[in-house]
């Protein structure tokens, strides 16, 4: 009932683990799969090992999280083993990568392909790492070049993950339309100050906002892009229950990714949402997720 396909890639359910949450080590991804995820996206992996920013890297808000992990990652050369372990889970593993230019992205994607991932996700959208992610992701020409170059170099599907920190996500989505799917959205650039400390809380000052508070921004991005770009969309941002998933799907997403909800509801959130979704679909007489994709679009 919940099974979906993005292009030719089949998922037992549309609930994928979002990049950067519990997906650095293969064994953690296995746990997430055990708890019901339909697929997992790895943490974003770069050319070299990166320690990320100093603590604090996270700040709890009552309606979400602020984070600036700083793209900490073991580096692509050390990552093959983790993919191998994650693949044991029997669901698609999507390798997320970040680079500073088309060449790096292509190299990283090739490596991921070698390691056996089922698709690569290009992180064109991290809002707080200089020279990476969002700084690249708001430049339509660069986005187009990167996506084209990666497509040339790999045979697996290429997903482009875009930032909401732009005035025109549709334009960026069009620039990325050589990809096989669009992933919307990454975190929103934000920060917090502790007034007793009189200092920004994150050691990096700026971070990314995730969780329920960004859902209306994510829904808007998916809705806007769906009507303008004919590509499967993976919706991300602020999903905590089945209603949120259905909202994304009705806006135009074919599947979703879930991150912060693991903090809010625990790792079992995947199987819980899956059964909530089945209940909802039965009650409303739907048999396949596909029937719901984009049905809230007003033409």
């Amino acid at each position: 009932m919940l099974s979906v396909a993005i292009n030719d890639l089949r998922f037992r359910n549309p609930l994928l683990l979002a990049s950067g949450i519990l997906d650095e080590s293969g064994e953690s991804m296995l746990q997430v799969i055990k708890h019901g995820a339909g697929g997992v996206v790895t943490k974003s992996i770069g050319m070299e090992p990166r320690e990320g920013y100093e603590n604090p890297v996270i700040y709890e808000l009552s309606y979400g999280l602020l984070n600036a992990i700083g793209l900490a990652n073991p580096g692509i050369e050390n990552y093959g083993e983790e993919i191998k372990i994650a693949k044991r889970g029997g669901v698609p593993v999507i390798g997320s990568v970040f680079g500073k230019d088309a060449e790096e992205f292509a190299y990283l994607a090739r490596k991921m392909e070698e390691y056996g991932v089922d698709a690569v996700e290009l992180n064109l959208s991290c809002p707080h790492a200089r020279g990476y992610g969002m700084e690249i992701g708001v430049d339509a020409a660069l986005v187009e070049e990167i996506v084209k170059e990666v497509k040339r170099k790999v045979n697996i599907p290429v997903w482009a993950k875009l930032t909401p920190n732009t005035h025109n996500i549709v334009e960026i989505a069009k620039a990325a339309s050589d990809s096989d799917a669009l992933v919307l959205i990454n975190t929103v650039r934000a920060m917090a100050i502790d007034i007793e400390a009189k200092l920004p809380v994150l050691s990096n000052i700026f971070g990314g906002l995730s969780g329920p508070c960004i859902k209306p921004i994510g829904i808007r991005a998916v809705y806007e892009v769906y009507r303008e770009v004919e590509k499967p969309i993976v919706g991300v941002g602020g999903i905590i229950d089945a209603r949120d998933v259905i909202e994304y799907i009705m806006a135009g997403a074919s599947a979703v990714e879930i991150g912060t909800a693991i903090y809010l509801r625990g790792i079992h959130v995947f199987s819980e949402i899956a059964s909530e979704m089945e209940d909802w679909m039965k009650k409303h007489g739907y048999e396949k997720i596909e029937e719901l994709v984009g049905i809230a679009q007003v033409r």
């Binding site: 519990l22 953690s28 746990q31 603590n55 709890e60 073991p74 580096g75 400390a197």
Partner: protein
Amino acid sequence: MYRVVEIEEIIKETPTIKTFFFRDETQPSPGQFYMIWLPGVDEFPMSISYIGERKAFSVKLVGEGTRKMHSLSEGDRLWIRGPYGRGFVEKNKKALFVGGGSGMATLAPLIERMRGDVVIAARTKEELLFKRRFKNRRVYIATDDGSEGFRGFAHELVERLLEENEYEIIYTCGPELMMRKLIDIAIERGLDIQASLERLMKCGIGICDSCSINGYRVCVDGPVFEKDILIEMSDLGRYTRDRAGRRVPL
């Protein structure tokens, strides 16, 4: 959101460990921890070492953050979040508590709530923590250099004690290698065991994966794990992860 608490009293426990008392409304259970932020310096995890109305952290000086902590005075403030994680599960079994170094900080509030004998271990005499904290208890001492009590490692003393006593469960916190040995002993002898682990922590709330060991997050699935899970942790005492997430030998 951080809560700001004021340090009411500081006690120098050993040459490298100080206890910082403060008041806070939360109600932690033994084995839980907090994240302490020293603005402009660092944020790090710290077990609660007194859990009453007056609470405390007992902090060993190991690096930049804990050095700054040691330089604080009474009246200074701490920024904290928590309590986090799962503490010890109190079982109705004859217990032996084994604390190594600053691991005694984690174990102490549990010991105060339960019956059972205590092993306090440290490198050397001066580093023995909470030697006089527990009243009417059998407290065994072990030092690596033999400057007080049993000369040798904690697990060696434990093996001796197990010859003479019918302990049913070991509660432990301390250096990972010590805990590894105790787990192996528990498996071998069919004893129950709970261990409070320490791993590099970034988020403290179960999302960054930096503290994970064999797929278990020390910050939310632990820091205290029970025997069935400890058995599965093939990396414990063997591999850890560095700040970049690389798996490296311990």
